[in-house]
Every structure is written in C-alpha cells, then in structure tokens.
Symmetry: C2
Amino acid sequence: MGKKINKTDRMAVITKILVENPKKIFTLNYFSEILNSAKSTLSEDIDVIENVFSEFELGEINSISGAAGGIYYNPKLTDSQIDNICDELCDLINDKSRIIPGGYVYMNDIFYNPNILQKIAKSLANPYLDKKIDYVVTIETKGIPLAIMTANILNIPMIVVRKKARLTEGTTIQMNYLTGSSKRINTMALPKRSIPKGAKVLFVDDFMKAGGTAKGVNDLMSEFEAEVVGIAVVMSTKEPEQKIINNYYSLLEFDGIDEKEEKINIYRRKNNN
Amino acid sequence: MGKKINKTDRMAVITKILVENPKKIFTLNYFSEILNSAKSTLSEDIDVIENVFSEFELGEINSISGAAGGIYYNPKLTDSQIDNICDELCDLINDKSRIIPGGYVYMNDIFYNPNILQKIAKSLANPYLDKKIDYVVTIETKGIPLAIMTANILNIPMIVVRKKARLTEGTTIQMNYLTGSSKRINTMALPKRSIPKGAKVLFVDDFMKAGGTAKGVNDLMSEFEAEVVGIAVVMSTKEPEQKIINNYYSLLEFDGIDEKEEKINIYRRKNNN
C-alpha cells in the first residue's frame, strides 16, 4: 500500500508486532516497508514506545546496532513485579482443598492455566533474558507447558527429555539416573538429533526436591556435549537444604503440609543465588 | 501517577496490554485508572487501534457492552493468512532428512518451537475464537505444547489426559480405549477434579490417524458429563478416509512417505468441515 499512515496508527502496529514476538528482532526496514514510513520517523516512534514502556514498567524495547541489528521487545519484570507474582501464587497454592492424601498438593489447574503460566514463565525467564541460551530443556510431563511458555518468552526452542525412548523419534540416547530423594533409578531418553554439540541450555521444571532430576539432565546434556547454564524451578523444597546441584533459581519454597492444621507451607523464596 | 499522558503514549500502552492477553476482557475503567484519562478519550483511542488492526490484518479489537463489558484483542487470522501458515508448515515438514526408519517423520523441532507453535495455535484456534468453550483438552505428550499455546490464544485452561493414573493427582477416573488404526487397547486417566460437569471442551492434538484417540477422549469426557464441541488437529492422515469420529478440523493432510523417492506427502487440507 502506498498510503502513509499517521503516528498514532504506527504506534499501534509497531507495538503489536513487537509485543506479540518477545525477543524477536525486527529491522527498521521491516517496519519501513509495511508502514511506508522513513526510518528516521520510525526511530522516533520506537523511542516513544521505549520511553512509555519504561515509565509504565511494561518491559523494555531494546536496540541492537550494526548490520544484523534491529529492535525487540524484552519482557523484563521489575523485582517487585516478580515478588507480587510469587505472592499471588502462594495465595493460590495455600488452599487446603488442594491437599491430596500422601502429602501431595493438587496443582494441575495452576500449571495448565495459560494466564498464570504467562506470569510464572516471565518470572522464571527474567534472570536469563540477556544471557546466551540456545534451548529450554524440561522433562515430561508436568513441566512441559511451563517450559514452552518460558521458551516463548526467551524466543528459543524447547527440548523435552522423555522417560523412555520412542520409536517415532529416531535414534535415541538413553541414560539411567538416581532420583535425589527416594534414591530410585529412573531413565531419561533424548533423540540424538534434538540438540547440537556446544548448545547452552536452561533447565526448567515445576518442582525440585533434592535435585536428582536436575543432576540427571545435567549429565544427559554432557552426553550431548551441551551445557546447562541455568536451572530454574517454580518451587523447591526447604529440605534437604543441601541440594545435589549447586546453583538454581527458584521462585517459591515449599516446606511440607501441616495435615492437622490443613496448611500448605509455601513462601516466596528469598536470596536466589 | 497524576500526569495525563498523550495519545501516542496511550496507543502503545493499550495495544501492549491487549495484545499480550488475547481474549482477556479489560474495562475502560481499567485503562482510565492506569492512564489517568477520560473514558470518552479512551473509547476514541480504542477505535483507532481497532481500525488500524483491521486495515493491517493484525486481528480484531472486539467490544462487549453492558455491565460485564469491556474490550479485548481477538487474534483472528484471515483465510489467506492460515493458508500461508499451512504452506510454510508443509515446506518445513517435507524435508527428507526428517524420515525415520519405520515410516515416521521427525517433528520435535517443529512442535517444540514456540515461534512455529504460535502460528499453528492461532490457525487451530481460529474457528473456535467466538465459540463458548471452557477447556482445551489434549493427551500426553507431544501435543501438550501446542495445546497450551492454543489455550493461551483462546484464554481458557488446558487439561492433559494421562496415559496412566498418577498418585500425585488425587482420585482419578481411568478408562480403556481402542486405538483406531492398530486396534490396541490403551488407557486414559484424568483426575476427578480436573473438569466440572457440563464443561464444553476442544480436543487438540498434533496428529490423527483413524481417530481412536479422539473417540477415546470423547468417551472420557462423557464420563465427566462434559462435552467435546470441537476436534482440532495439525495433521490428519489421508487413509482411512472414513474416521471413527465425524467432524474434525485439520490443517494438513498426510499421505505417507514415498521411501524410494524420499518424499513426505503432506499438503494443506481443503474443505474443512
């Protein structure tokens, strides 16, 4: 279309395209073509969006200069936004109707709700937004929706480690590992072609107890000559305090259920390392 | 903040909030408070966004009048946008390096890529955007990322049917069903509290052959007194032409692999019923 469009219209179009594609880089040329506007004009538009996003704490608009350069929406949260999300999540979890005999807590409605997952995924991705990471890795099944939402925020693909090899996925590397808490032997499997040598991955899961699964994924990644550069979980248990793995980022801390008082002990985790 | 903000700034803020939350309804009061602007002014802003979205085929801004009313972003695609997504997908799939011995096609990189999933999910959700649907239902494992992305587009929760009951999910209804093609008996399980009576669900999956799984999910939903109001899959096989279930929406049609010619026969499906 040959028609020029005005500034308010350009605001809506540019914001829409950027926000719907977090961390995806768009060139000024791209916007110049669809909006039939000069790059200098668009630069000014983008400055306006950048400033208003910053003022209203709606995330960042970042620029990359040079030949491969462009702009992208970086869905950063402030510390207090993350704290609020964690507090909301604790309120949601700490509901005695969630208690399942055996000391479990029913959470499917939380981990399968895209609205809530969006907030959790943004909070989990936050420390990794500016790091060089190639894949989000998770293990089936419950963590998958969270992992794909986190991968979407980071604009990188996801890899799902299976609990056994599948015929339909081709040649697979299978490995045994020891769960950290119950000391059972489990199996992990991943198709050979899933991940290239040298890849940097972020392991994402809903829950971490002793860290046996995270350690297993770490070992599996070594088999692929890939490297785990971060471990991010929604909840970690207070006990054992000393996990099998060292560094991990966890939003909440779970300290068991008080079955007599019908209370689920879940708190925002402080001092993430 | 007491400061009034100008129209270009308001455009960016309103667009950002609407687009990041597809199908979520926001009141004018909400925007009036955060933007410190009169509702009449905001109505005009929203008209501008609505018009420019329509002009650039970026989806719709819809209004609901009345006490529970407000506005929302409806991520509709045009027919030709869906056709383009399907053609892109066919090009991506029809790559001989994907062929796995046994007649399988490797597709993890597609179904675990959030960028591609966004497009597929929007296409799958498209016929259901204006229907009354309460849940997206899928069965573990491969369809989960697609299902949560589709649920996100529709702004409804997802339910994952498991292949066996889990201790951690409480009382579970378990059911046997017959796969449609190989006539094996498989199991489906779903926690009792997952889904309320009378719920309307959309079944989403990556692949459909004879439709045995879809039929199984249909029967399982009957056990819960819930109703399957739609079946949406990315790919359905050409054979058997007569599926066990009647109405389904499928983006692509798969007609097997020509192993000698190393060709994967995949096409955009016409005449969805």
